[in-house]
């Protein structure tokens, strides 16, 4: 049972809980791995070395006293830098929050600590989670550990890269339209967006509030399930948090595919720009599930083709409202003008990068008088159509299958000058986001240039148990990848 960098969270926690390895050694090993690899990758905005060592020492002290520190005892975890950490810089990769120290912890950060996990750093992202390559960071891009000339995807590119590089076995990201699933696929790791409301968003800095969810990155399905089960659950501090009977991601990991009904979504497999290497990997995954005894058929979700357009009206509209709080008054950057109105305009002009400004502009326009109904209202009605079409599909299928991304990881700079081409990276991940449904990606072999391809598993609301069951079944038969 290894606890060295590259080991799974399940193995690390078992080694620490059994006394085979100290949490201090585990954390030191991972910090050394970060120190060696980080200059080439830039996964982190901030490495929490001192705090991580102190937290590890505390876990070892508790173990020595006969206590159980929890299911993630001594496991290093990387946190996307839009999750608030009390007293630790939290920037959203934006100049407007540079140097800000949150006065409170996000609920997911508290839950991780209570489970014995050790936060090792805050990971890079597209500014305010707006982007699909992590190139929209004010602090420079993250590089894909599988090919450093390529993007890691985004917006949670730092979290995906940290896990793929072995800097931490686990990471948290956030997913609004694909920001966990797309980078996980491009970096060859597992990533899951839970059902909207399953994980508390208290302390997650808001981008688009009807879509944002926190979720896990890991190298294995079992690790991702363990992490999700730790962070999931009702939180009175988040009014959109679900209560009652909530699913466990780990309940049926060894259930296998036999007897499950799996639909391959026609509209997403043939969506705009899906490359043939990606499509053939999805077909291979469907064939593997059928060989394992699942009933696999094609299924149509007609309104899914409108997902991208609806999303790029709804998400910017919500963002333009959420980001109005960055006014230079209570925290963050202030560029002072002669009066308050000019202070707002100058602060926001200096503090936000081009993509954030673009989305604020787009969202403000979609909400403005004369355009509200044609754009925002219409997008919300299309959202209803997408939900209805999913309901029809899930009446006949337990889970759906599709590509996670149109292509393997693209080269740095390839899409930065054409925002619309970047937005198309999210075409397969957006429909589940609009519906509030869970969806996840598992690596399933490689495509062009030997780069990883992810297969997306979609499930109905609170369908995490069957979604992870299928993910584990696919993982068990996935081609063993030769690392670049």
């Amino acid at each position: 049972m290894s606890a060295a960098p590259g080991a799974t969270a399940v193995d690390v926690a078992a080694a620490v809980r059994s006394g085979q390895r100290s949490a201090a050694d585990v954390v030191d090993d991972h910090l050394a791995e970060i120190e060696a690899g980080e200059p080439q990758i830039h996964a982190f905005n901030h490495v929490m070395a001192d705090r991580a060592r102190a937290a590890a020492a505390e876990i070892d002290r508790r173990l020595a006293a006969g206590e159980d520190p929890g299911p993630l005892a001594g496991v290093p975890v990387a946190l996307k830098d839009n999750l608030c950490t009390r007293g630790v810089p939290t920037t959203c990769s934006s100049r407007i929050l540079e140097g800000w120290l949150p006065p409170y912890d996000a609920t997911v950060v508290v839950r991780l600590r209570r489970a014995g996990a050790v936060a090792v750093g805050k990971t890079n992202l597209d500014e305010f989670a707006m982007g699909s390559s992590t190139e929209n960071s004010a602090f420079g891009p993250t590089r894909n550990p599988r090919d450093r000339g390529r993007v890691p995807g985004g917006s949670s590119g730092g979290s995906a890269a940290a896990v793929a590089a072995g800097f931490a076995p686990l990471a948290l990201g956030t997913d609004t339209g694909g920001s966990i699933r797309q980078p996980a696929a491009l970096c060859g790791v597992v990533g899951a967006k839970p059902t909207y409301g399953l994980v508390s968003r208290y302390g997650l800095i808001a981008f688009a509030s009807s879509l944002d969810q926190v979720g896990p990155f890991a190298t294995t399905v079992a690790d991702a399930a363990l992490l999700l089960d730790v962070i999931a659950g009702h939180d009175p501090l988040d009014s959109t948090s679900l209560d009652g009977d909530l699913p466990s991601a780990r309940a049926r990991l060894d259930g296998g595919p036999e007897g499950l009904r799996v639909g391959v979504v026609t509209e997403l497999s043939n969506a705009e720009g899906i490359a043939s290497d990606v499509r053939s990997r999805v077909q291979a995954a469907a064939d593997a599930l059928a060989a394992g005894g699942a009933k696999v058929e094609e299924v149509s979700v007609p309104a899914a083709v409108y997902g991208l357009s609806a999303y790029y009206l709804i998400a910017p509209a919500e963002a333009s409202s959420n980001l109005s709080r960055y006014d230079g008054v209570r925290y963050g950057l202030r560029v002072a003008g002669p009066d308050i109105t000019s202070t707002y305009g100058a602060t926001r002009a200096a503090g936000f990068g081009p993509e954030v400004k673009r989305r604020i502009m787009l969202g403000t326009y979609a909400l403005s008088a004369g355009y509200y109904d044609a754009y925002y209202g219409q997008a919300q009605r299309v959202r209803t159509l997408i939900i209805r079409d999913f309901e029809t599909a899930y009446a006949s299928f337990d889970v759906l299958l599709s590509p996670t991304t149109p292509t393997v990881a693209f080269e740095l700079g390839a899409k930065t000058s054409d925002p619309l081409s970047m937005y198309l990276s999210d075409v397969c991940t957006i429909p589940s986001s609009l519906a509030g449904h869970p969806a996840m990606t598992v690596p399933f072999g490689t495509g062009a240039d030997g780069l990883p391809v992810g297969v997306q598993i979609l499930a109905p609301a609170l369908g995490e148990t069957v979604m992870f069951q299928v993910a584990a079944a696919l993982e068990a038969v996935a081609p063993k990848e030769v690392q670049a």
Binding site: T240, R330, R348, Q378, T384
Partner: protein
Amino acid sequence: MPGRITHDDVAHVARLARLDVTEAEIEMFTEQLGAVLAHAADVASLDTTGVPETAHPLPLSNVLRPDVPTPSLERDEVLAQAPSVDDGRFRVPRILGEAP
């Protein structure tokens, strides 16, 4: 369906968003927003007569809690993050014109 977004629309929206923009940014945004909105034409032109709007994926109504006082954030810790503070308060530039 609305017509193509114009230079004046973009300048107006920037004012609504309290975002200072340069002339070059207005030109860039006019083109880029035009491209995104053109892609959204498929949605804008769809017949959705009788379809209700979904603002939120959960069937949630107002969430209430007992009206019991709980500790707030540490005042000094919060104020320490402000750009300008005066006597325990956030200090801001002038909001109204000169006093008469």
